[in-house]
Structures are given as C-alpha cells and as structure tokens.
C-alpha cells in the first residue's frame, strides 16, 4: 500500500479581508468495505472519517467523510484572511491514525 501522505496548498501571502481558497489532498485508499482484493476477499473498511482545520489553534472548518468519498480525498474550502498565522490540518482514519500538516500564511 502506498504511503499515506497529506498535501496542501495555502497561499503564502494574502491581503486583509481577502477570501483565499485552500486546497488539500491526502493519499489514502478509502476502503469502503465493498471492494474486493485479487483473491475475492473483502477489504475491511478503512476510510478517513474526519478532517479538521485549525487556524492559530481555533477550529475554522470541519468535515465528516463517509465511504462515498473517493480515494485520495480532495477537499477545497474558502477562508477569509484577517491576520497572519498557521493552519493546522488533521485527518483521522478508522484505525485512529492521525495525519497532520501545518502551513503558514502571511497577511499584509
């Protein structure tokens, strides 16, 4: 299985009150428990079920994912820039594993 790796794109700079778009993607198989492997055995369910975004420690966006979300979930959302700070992204999967990523944004 390929390594689970989060990726994200946050603009490095933004002006005050500008609405920026943040794009994230995590490489994850998102096994929905309906797919079968080569031997015809069912692959157990393993999906990313939660995605949280914090900006300077405060939660700004959250998403609950279900098996109907595609492999390698891509999520894009807006954010209104006010002050410089750090985004903390957190993905949680069914095994309880957490994948984290941080990105900085400077607002001038």
């Amino acid at each position: 299985m390929s390594k689970i790796k989060p990726r994200g794109k946050v603009p490095k700079t933004a002006s005050v009150d500008e609405i920026v778009e943040i794009k994230t993607l995590i490489r994850h198989p998102m096994h929905s428990s309906r797919m079968k492997d080569k031997d015809g055995k069912k692959i157990p369910k393993r999906i990313i079920n939660k995605f949280l975004v914090k900006f300077n420690g405060k939660q700004v966006f959250g998403m609950d994912l279900e098996p109907s979300i595609s492999t390698n979930p891509y999520i894009a959302f807006p954010f209104k820039a006010k002050t410089s700070g750090t985004f903390d992204f957190e993905w949680t999967d069914d095994n309880g594993d957490k994948y984290n990523m941080s990105r900085k944004m400077t607002v001038s």
Partner: protein, 154 residues
C-alpha cells in the same frame, strides 16, 4: 346452467385474485426496495422541520463517465456573520449503498460558504445538498447525475 355460470365466475375471480395478489406483491416489493434513503435522512437530520427547496448552487457534472471520481462543489450565498451564517452542509446521494456522503461544518471565520470534494457514485442518481442555517432553518436542492460506470466496487 347454474353450475357453469358459477364456474365461470369463480375462474374469473381466481384470475382477478391472482392478478391482484401478484400485482400487490410486486408493488409492495417495489415500494420496499425503493425507499428514498436520502430523503429519509434529510427528514432525520432536519427533525421533520420544514425544508425549503431553493436554488442553492450545487455544481455536479450532468454526465459522469467514471463514478469513482465525481467532482462536487457548492456555493451558498450567505453573509457569514455571527447573526447569519450557514452552520452545516450535508451532501446526500439516493442511489449509493449509504445515503450520507459528507458533512461540512462551517464557521464565520471562513467568510464564504463553499467547498469542493470528490465522491463515488454507484449509478445514475440524484445528489442532494442540505444546508442548515444558524437560526435553525433548512434549505435544500437536488441535481441529477448520469453515471456511465459505477464506482462503489463490488
């Protein structure tokens, strides 16, 4: 003579009965196998409150050639202030094994209410977008997507 007449009637009755029973069996089967899970879920989420069917911007392709990766995005007009903002947005699909697709939690820090993601679709079906406002109101819209190759495995 009387006997023959009775016979005819009874045979006709039997046929009617047969037709009726098979018909009703078929119908009940149809009704049982086809409840709209997505609409039931919407009722469950909104706790039977009135859901206005309005024209929210839900962007899905009209025809999806591959059901494994269908881009779905939405944009709901809202000032996103403390007094008036969209709290939660649900995406539901009525033809997938499970109706829930995603639930988005918004905050006023976002400045706008939109998001994009990719979903799986097993067959041609309707996609529902349900928005919950901070004052407890609900709004929904739906859009049909034709799927050429389903994407739920199996």
């Amino acid at each position: 003579m009387k006997q023959i007449k009775m016979k005819i009637i009874s045979r006709r009755n039997v046929l009617y009965l047969l037709g009726g029973t098979t018909g009703s069996v078929l119908f009940s089967k149809y009704a049982l196998s086809k409840p709209n899970l997505a609409l039931n879920k919407i009722k469950e989420i909104s706790k039977n409150a009135k859901v206005d069917e309005v024209d929210l911007f839900l962007d899905v392709p009209e025809i999806a050639e591959n059901g494994n990766q269908v881009k779905v995005s939405f944009d709901i007009e809202s000032p996103m202030t403390e007094e008036d903002f969209v709290k939660t947005v649900y995406i539901l699909a009525d033809g997938n094994p499970a109706p829930n697709v995603a639930k988005f939690s918004f905050t006023t820090d976002m400045g706008a209410c939109s998001a994009t993601t990719r979903m799986r679709l097993s067959k041609t079906q309707n996609i529902y977008l349900l928005a919950e406002y901070n004052n407890g109101n609900f709004a929904m819209t739906k859009s049909k997507v034709k799927v050429t190759i389903g994407g739920c495995g199996g």
